[in-house]
């Protein structure tokens, strides 16, 4: 009885503490824990905002089984950096209507943030941002990926992303005929 009562009290205290805390704890697929500003998480991720509002945040670490520790670290890093940078109204509104409004260029720190990532880390981060409904991060990462393609030939793009050419010779010839203007031969 004593134990149970104590447990109940502890549960109560924990819940109160959880509500008061200004960070949330996230747990990666491989069991690592990360703390992130609650305000930034709610502002930048529609999924986390929903979880916070719905009270489904676990103090011992909310399980994010789809996201590996490296990607989650980057997500958390991005949120915390975002919390520290002054959020401009324009930035927030552009991330909401990103499909119609012209893309707002990445800010200097966002550019640096994605520039230091390896190709694989970038891949994982795009997936994580997509899973967590982080539109601005998705925009910034997809912009970075597009930057890696601009001005490059299909061969060069395949080289950058280590993609196997799965077209047959005939199909490629057909494409080159159809889009002759875009293919220069000596």
């Amino acid at each position: 009885m004593e134990v149970d009562k104590g447990k109940g009290e502890a549960e109560e205290t924990r819940k109160v503490a959880e509500a008061d805390r200004d960070t949330v704890t996230l747990k990666s697929s491989d069991g690592k824990l990360f703390e992130v500003s609650k305000e930034a998480a709610a502002r930048l991720s529609t999924v986390l905002a929903g979880m916070i509002a719905g009270g489904s945040i676990d103090d011992n670490g909310t399980d994010l089984k789809q996201i590996g520790s490296e990607a989650l670290e980057n997500v958390v890093d991005y949120c915390n950096k975002h919390a520290n940078s002054i959020p401009s109204a324009a930035l927030i509104s552009s991330s909401i209507s990103f499909n119609t409004a012209p893309f707002k260029e990445p800010e200097e720190w966002e550019r640096k943030f994605v520039d230091r990532l390896s190709h694989d880390a970038l891949f994982d981060l795009v997936e994580a941002a997509n899973f967590l409904g982080m539109e601005r991060l998705l925009d910034v990462t997809c912009h970075k990926i597009s930057e890696m393609m601009k001005g490059k030939s299909p061969d060069q793009i395949r080289e950058v992303f280590n993609i196997k050419n799965d077209y047959t010779k005939e199909e490629l010839e057909e494409i080159r005929q159809e889009l002759a203007w875009a293919f220069y031969d000596d």
Binding site: H119, F123, S146, K150, N162
Partner: protein, 402 residues
């Protein structure tokens, strides 16, 4: 910088199509989209669902060897494979959808060619005009060679109601034809006043070809038999209306050592006249100032003349200036554009000796960006990667609307 480790993730099929679609949204240039789709099947099928992006006019830099184009939206220069018939030709006009007018020779070989599809439509090489004095004493229609300066199209050259207007050097200076239909260019009465620019206006109350004279008056040409022009057996008849303008206060302002060139641009349902002042320095043109005027219709209370009203800013627009092919674009609809900027080429005057002389070299050095807000040419640093000079054996550069 990204580490130079070979990626292990499956970039081809590992990303869901909606994420590939998002990446595509960040590729505003058509050629990047084409190359994206060529990478692998999965990327091609993701690209299929995306509407092609609106393009800013490409700056085509023709050369008998490798032709290239500069895309303002990305700041990248790409090779452009021209259809065989026009490699080494002089390009002297363009139209929406990748159309150019080409001159294969100095005095002929004229054609409208689509750079994207490769479709070619022949244009006549000679004008037909009425000669009032002949040996027999009565006038007759004569055929005469002509030199194409600039061609403007009213519609895609393959469409049945397309009319081409040519600014020419011959016994007159303006001529019309239906591409692929007429054997000769039609001329009207001998038009001898200097023409500065000819454009086709769609959104003005009076549709037609607007020709700007050096007096800053306009002549508007339209088909007199608009309904019948798609019928080959009906000859093309053009009618025209003169619009006289009240002289601007500083019209005759011709400062020593300074010349003026004028362009027409249609924008937001209005007609703009762009004034370009330049001087010659060591045989090279050097643009100093641009000024912009908007056509104001004649006032209702008895004033018969229209007038040019100066605009001091472009109000959210940018201009791509080129003889017969200028266009205004809304800056908010494109990435990579600077507001209030005029993108200009070295076409302030037409050098006939380059075209008729053999072995001439088309050399452009007076091209760049001009900011209306700052009232100055942008420096190399401010203008990004826009080409500052271009030289070719066959043709000056040209704006190509895609």
């Amino acid at each position: 910088m990204a580490r130079r480790r070979k990626p292990c993730r499956d970039w081809s099929t590992g990303l869901p199509p909606e994420l590939l679609g998002l990446v595509l949204h960040h590729l505003p240039c058509l050629i990047d989209r084409v190359y994206f789709a060529c990478v692998c099947r999965a990327w091609r099928s993701a690209a299929k669902d995306e509407a092609p992006p609106r393009q800013l006019p490409w700056l085509v830099m023709p050369s008998p060897g490798k032709t290239s184009f500069f895309a303002q939206q990305t700041g990248c220069t790409h090779h452009l494979r021209l259809p065989e018939g026009i490699r080494g030709a002089r390009l002297c006009g363009s139209h929406d959808g990748g159309w150019v007018a080409a001159a294969g020779e100095a005095w002929g070989g004229y054609a409208a060619v689509n750079i994207i599809s490769g479709v070619q439509v022949p244009l006549p090489n000679r004008i037909s005009f009425f000669h009032p004095f002949t040996v027999r004493g009565n006038g007759c229609r004569c055929k005469h060679p002509m030199l194409l300066r600039t061609v403007t199209f009213s519609a895609a050259p393959t469409s049945a109601n397309c009319i081409a207007a040519a600014h020419i050097a011959s016994v007159c200076n303006i001529a019309f034809c239906r591409p692929g239909m007429d054997e000769h260019w039609l001329t009207l009465s001998q038009e001898l006043r200097a023409i500065e620019d000819i454009i086709y206006c769609r959104s003005l109350p009076q549709q037609g070809f607007y020709a700007l004279r050096d007096t800053e008056d306009l002549v508007v040409y339209a088909a007199a038999n608009a309904v019948a022009i798609s019928n080959k057996s009906t000859p093309l008849v053009m009618s025209f209306v003169h619009h006289r303008f009240e002289k601007r206060v500083d019209y005759s302002l011709n400062r020593p050592g300074s010349s003026v060139s004028r362009y027409l641009v249609e924008s937001r349902g209005k007609l703009l006249m762009v004034l370009r002042e330049y001087s010659m320095r060591a045989m090279k043109r050097c643009t100093r100032v641009f000024r912009i005027f908007e056509m104001a219709e004649a006032l209702p209370h008895g004033q018969a003349k229209a007038s040019w009203v100066e605009l001091h800013e472009l109000q959210g627009r940018a201009l791509f200036l080129g003889r017969g092919s200028s266009r205004a674009v809304e800056v908010s609809q494109f990435s990579g554009l600077q507001e209030g900027v005029i993108y200009y080429l070295d076409d302030a005057c037409f050098d006939i000796s380059l075209v008729v002389g053999s072995g001439g070299k088309f050399s452009s050095s007076d091209m760049g960006l001009y900011s209306m807000a700052m009232n100055k040419r942008l420096t190399r640093g401010e203008a990004g990667r826009f080409p500052r000079r271009f030289a070719s054996e066959c043709s000056p550069p040209l704006w190509l609307p895609i």
